[in-house]
Amino acid sequence: MAEECAASTRFARERRTIAWAWIALLLLMLTSLGSAYAKLGPWNMVAGLVIAGIKAGIVAWLFMRLREAGVLIRLAAVAGLGAWCILLVLSGVDYATRTLTPTDVQRPQQLPPAHGAASQPR
């Protein structure tokens, strides 16, 4: 008997967290929508991404149960995020510090003919 009521209280608690998480997600979505209409300039993107980060955090922490997951599962999640950040940060170093002197592309008069290749293999 004892473990049943323990299980049912656990289920009740679980149900409550899911409900609250769901409401929080919807509210965050609306704030994100609202923030887009405010004139924040570059901060629009930052706000959008921060709110999305919080929503994704809720989904991962509660729905995907990272809260109770072992260190191994958390490591897997962090490893994926970390690798992507490396790609972003280091290619960002290039784009941030590149002195770009763009010029319009001087298209040649015509694309070099494919030496009479009838079909254009794709």
């Binding site: 049943e4 289920f11 998480a21 887009a36 004139k39 994926g80 995020l81 790609l87």
Partner: protein
Amino acid sequence: MSSATLAHPSVDEKQEPGTGKLGMWVFLASELLFFGGLFVAYLYGRTHFPGGWAEASRRTDVLLGTVNTAVLLTSSAAVALAVACEEDAQARRWTARLLSLTAALGIVFLLLKCLEWHDEWREHLVPGPDFALHAAGAQQFFALYFLMTGLHGVHMICGIAALGLLARGRSRGRAWAGARELEVAALYWHFVDAVWIFLYPLLYLVDRHG
């Protein structure tokens, strides 16, 4: 030394509790890198052509986008509830219904998405010779828009198929539709939802006040 008991993973990995979940999490890490490449391309475009991208983003249908996001967040909550119900003796009977609800919400999402794509196709927003907008980078935005939402759509279809199968298996009490398989499928669904959570602001909310 104690003689090592031989770990006997029988043909399907039922024996070892953690392998399925760990396997899915490692797979989701690779999926995160898969979408990550697209997000890097997006950030390149947006930082180099803010004007063109803002104008192009205003042509996306923010209402449908927001409704779709709500639908997907609800479906994510539903599948989380299904996983919780599966672990509770009394509530187990709700699992199959909640899974079907999640799959149904997924289908609703895809239908709204196709509707949105059709509108954009009609307004000549599909990159090509007769592309409507002429701002620098606008065509690039819509190209990435279709690529990202298309790729996300493909992942949705896989998720809906998996959840549908599990719902049917669960309602018929099949062995392969147990709590562990359900949790793994739910992890995948939450990931697809998390990707959309990032797609929503990046594609629809670039610049609404302009």
